[in-house]
């Protein structure tokens, strides 16, 4: 249990390390066939357990349920403005790049 405690207190570094390690293993094709074949299923299984657990925490946390309206508002504004910002930023960058391209040619 102590190892688990240590990992969950420093989880950020372990998350990053595990993903990069996975990418490295995948890139060098060192993945056992059994894992590779069931990789998608493994992800689905982890996801389901994770979402159930988080749901449980949300349900048992009265404050979150009371704050649902504020939570929904924040979520909606963040996603709307992010999408707008993204479209604008890419649009401007493409404009700048194509002007530069014209000058060069």
């Amino acid at each position: 249990m102590n190892i688990l405690k240590f990992i969950s207190h420093n989880s950020m570094y372990f998350y990053i390390a595990f993903m990069l390690f996975g990418a490295l293993v995948g890139y060098h094709e060192k993945v056992p066939v059994s894992i590779k074949r069931h990789n998608a299923k493994l992800q689905t299984l982890c996801l389901i357990v994770l979402i159930l657990t988080i749901g449980f925490e949300i349900g048992s946390n009265g404050e979150v349920l009371l704050a649902l309206r504020a939570i929904g508002l924040k979520a909606a504004v963040i996603s709307l403005l992010s999408v707008l910002g993204t479209v604008l930023c890419i649009n401007i960058t493409i404009g700048v790049f194509s002007k530069k391209g014209m000058k060069n040619s």
Binding site: L4, I7, S8, S11, M12, F14, Y15, I16, F18, M19, F21, G22, A23, L24, G26, Y27, H28, E29, V31, I35, K36, N39, L42, Q43, C46, L47, I48, V49, L50, I51, L52, T53, I54, G55, F56, I58, G59, S60, N61, V64, L65, K74, A75, A76, I78, S79, L80, L81, S82, V83, L84, G85, T86, V87, L88, C89, I90, N91, T93, I94
Partner: protein
């Protein structure tokens, strides 16, 4: 898949609501353990896609216009949100840094920061995916393909790839895929870093 996730969330919420908190403490370990396996497994998927690494070598920096623009644009949107709703900047940035990958960003934030902000992240990134689903055909036609890919964020490599391909010429697949892979790699790095600021 979205339906499975949403119904799992609802089942979890109901059981948590009615059973109370006898599992408290244990949930933290379960989440950490599952996240480690999930991220390792996603890492394998990313690393096995050698074609995208080759595409980056061949097409160079041009491919990064979309993900970099997405990161900057999302950050600007989050700064705007924190000004409008008087929300701490760190919180809105962390939610935005999910780039549409709602399952991971919601869980990460709930575990590392607060369950409430985790819920914001989950909802916000679900909404981003819904906006993308609805607007990609329109944006592709009226504004441009690359802008449409940006909206999809991290999901441009999987869930929304078919939508993007259908509304554009096939040559944008590389852009979509590389942008999705790059942003997917960044989510588990950016979210914890922003939260620890």
């Amino acid at each position: 898949m979205t339906m499975v996730i949403i119904s799992c969330l609802l089942i979890g919420i109901f059981s948590g609501y009615f059973l109370g908190m006898p599992l408290n403490g244990l949930t933290d370990y379960v989440i950490t353990f599952c996240l480690l396996i999930l991220l390792f497994s996603v890492g394998i998927d990313l690393g096995s896609n050698k074609e995208s690494f080759r595409d980056i070598k061949n097409n160079g920096l041009k491919l990064f216009i979309v993900p970099i623009g997405t990161i900057l644009g999302t950050a600007i949107g989050c700064i705007g949100t924190s000004l409008i709703l008087k929300m701490p900047l760190k919180e809105s940035l962390a939610v935005g840094a999910g780039f549409g990958w709602y399952s991971l960003s919601g869980v990460l934030i709930a575990q590392m920061y607060s369950v409430e902000l985790g819920m914001v992240a989950f909802l916000s990134n679900v909404i981003r995916e819904i906006i993308a689903l609805i607007s990609i055909p329109f944006i592709s036609k009226r504004v441009g393909a690359l802008e449409a890919i940006g909206i999809a964020g991290a999901t441009a490599m999987d869930t929304l790839l078919p939508v993007i391909v259908k509304s554009n010429t096939p040559d944008v697949v590389i852009y979509s895929f590389v942008s999705g892979v790059f942003l997917t790699l960044l989510v588990p790095i950016l979210v914890p870093v922003i939260l620890s600021l």
